[in-house]
Amino acid sequence: MIKTTVHPGPAVPGSTSSILEVDGLTKEFGGLTAVNAVTMHVPKRSIVSVIGPNGAGKTTFFNMITGIYAPTHGSIRLDGRELVGLRPDQVTEAGIARTFQNIRLFSSMTSEENIMVGRNARLKSTFVDAVLRTRRFHESEHEAREAARIMLDFVGLSRWRNEIATNLPYGDQRKLEIARALATTPQLILLDEPAAGMNPRETEDLKALIRRIRDELGVTVCLIEHDMRLVMTLSEYITVLDYGTKISEGLPHQVRNDPAVMEAYLGRGAAAGEYGKEERANG
């Protein structure tokens, strides 16, 4: 496999330490190379985006980072620690949390319980503790419940606390997934199309939420989105994939004006400014 590294080096000018370093990551499905030697470094406490046309390999890229797919080649390091070969739960324990493109909440649990599961990995109590109801058990339970309360508050879903998760409106389910992921106290959170199914107004709220995740919780955010308004205003750095290959990366305005990106992804008129809004409505 030829490694085509487009823009190596630190991502955002000025920031030096990367929390996630992905190098030459490749995934082949039979004859199809879904992700092709992608290199990407995510600076600590940044908000970065991965964009690209449908089927470009973005979700697959996330799936490899979180251990759901084993990469064909390449390495993934979180804070210097190699992640390739770890199971998904180990990756989570190492500090990466994620949401899914198709929402995957635990359908028989309430919102609160969903988040408590997210907290599981961080709890100290064991099987024996649970049976004997030791102090450690009670502390753990308290911690989990507390985490759920805080996270529900954080994403603004407190009123849904005891509702079955899958009964929530779509947009709220997305937020709940984020809360659940945050409950694992990650260093890095991967969001796969968090704004899908949200109207522009809700997307605005989401944008604020993502900023707070970084600012208040100090969690690095990496997201996949097709909503360019969100991507361009939120991300500090953008990587663009097409047919599995990185075709561009850089600051939002750089990427937006990159002809390769326009050609492959944004389409006509995209460079003009904010995408999709006025041009049509005002027509």
């Binding site: 979700t59 799936n63 759901i68 899914f100 493109q101 198709n102």
Partner: protein
């Protein structure tokens, strides 16, 4: 031991296993069809196919004294068994499974077990009324004969088989032919026809199939009809091959056949056939393991006798599934994460 004795022995064991395998395969298809569309292990299928065997028995008994051609009798038996088993299967689905659409899947599983128990006692009762319990097939003359052993006008194939000492009987040939024909027909229906595609769509997502204009209840009924009819065929073949059935004799082969379906990959028609054949052969090979143990001088192998042949399939299944978690020819569920 000389090769001239050993070779036919091995060949016979394998051929016997293959024939057994065809029986399993065609039973397995009944499970696979229903499993495919409802994700339900239809425990009642073993009784559905035994019902077919019972119908076949009755047809042969009624036609015992008629001078009708033996093949015609067989055809009548097959058709009658297909009809009865097929309709029985549809009826079971209507009464016992359909009201439970949407329940957790274990719920219809338990009803399936319940239906299976009901049918066992019912069959036994019905036959018991006539003073019968074990039903012994009396086949049309010539059916059970050795492959052209008495007749001087032997087909060359028969001669050949005889010289190498293979015990194939006419009914075995019939069994294989009928199985192959049913398999081919089924494969065509499921993969090539509009009906087949609709059934597959229903099996994957009933609601969305509805959005395509497909009546999912109708398709499920059709599936049960086809599965039951296959059960009927397998029942008659089972009776033909082994001679005797009773109300309870479906259970064991039913389990093995379902294992075959799983081994081949649930939902896959060629998989079920492959699984059935494989298990038939393996069962027979394990059954003769002690002979090889004796010949080769492995004491440990010699203790593996016929009583292990029952669990052979499961051990093979474990070994294979460890390496191919979705069976030999099973398609993995490709859920996009």
């Amino acid at each position: 031991m000389e090769l001239s004795v050993l070779l036919p022995f091995i060949v016979n064991v394998i051929v016997g296993g293959l024939i057994l395998g065809f029986v399993y395969a065609i039973i397995a298809l009944g499970y696979t069809m229903v499993y495919g569309v409802l994700q339900l292990i239809n425990f009642a299928h073993s009784e559905v196919f035994i019902t077919g065997a019972v119908v076949g028995f009755e047809v042969f008994r009624i036609l015992q004294d008629s001078t009708m051609n033996g093949y015609l009798k067989l055809l009548i038996a097959l058709i009658a068994a297909m009809l009865v088993s097929g309709l029985l299967n549809v009826l079971i689905e209507r009464l016992a499974y359909r009201p439970l659409r949407g329940s957790p899947r274990l719920v219809p599983l338990i009803t399936a077990i319940g239906v299976s128990l009901i049918l066992q006692d019912t069959l036994r009762f019905l036959e018991g009324l006539q003073g019968r319990f074990d039903l012994t097939y009396t086949l049309p003359a010539g059916f059970g004969d050795k492959f052209c052993s008495t007749n001087s006008t032997c087909a060359p194939v028969g001669d050949f088989l005889r010289t190498i000492g293979v015990d194939v009987q006419l009914k075995d040939v019939i069994l294989v032919v009928v199985s192959l024909v049913s398999l081919a027909v089924l494969n065509y229906v499921v993969n090539r026809t509009r009906l087949g595609k609709a059934i597959r769509a229903v099996s994957q997502d009933r609601v969305t199939a509805g959005l395509m204009g497909i009546d999912s209840n109708l398709m499920i009924s059709a599936t049960f009809l086809i599965g039951g009819a296959l059960g009927g065929v397998s029942g008659v073949l089972f009776g033909l091959k082994f001679g005797t059935v009773n109300a309870y004799s479906g259970f064991d082969p039913g389990i093995i056949a379902f294992t075959a379906a799983v081994l081949g990959g649930i939902g896959s028609i060629p998989g079920a056939v492959l699984g059935g054949l494989l298990l038939g052969v393996i069962q027979n090979l394990i059954g003769v393991m002690n002979i090889f143990g004796n010949l080769l001088g492995f004491a440990n192998l010699s203790t593996i006798d016929a009583s292990y042949s029952k669990i052979g399939p499961f051990i093979v299944l474990v070994l294979i599934l460890i390496f191919k978690p979705t069976g030999l020819l099973g398609k993995s569920n490709v859920e996009k994460v």
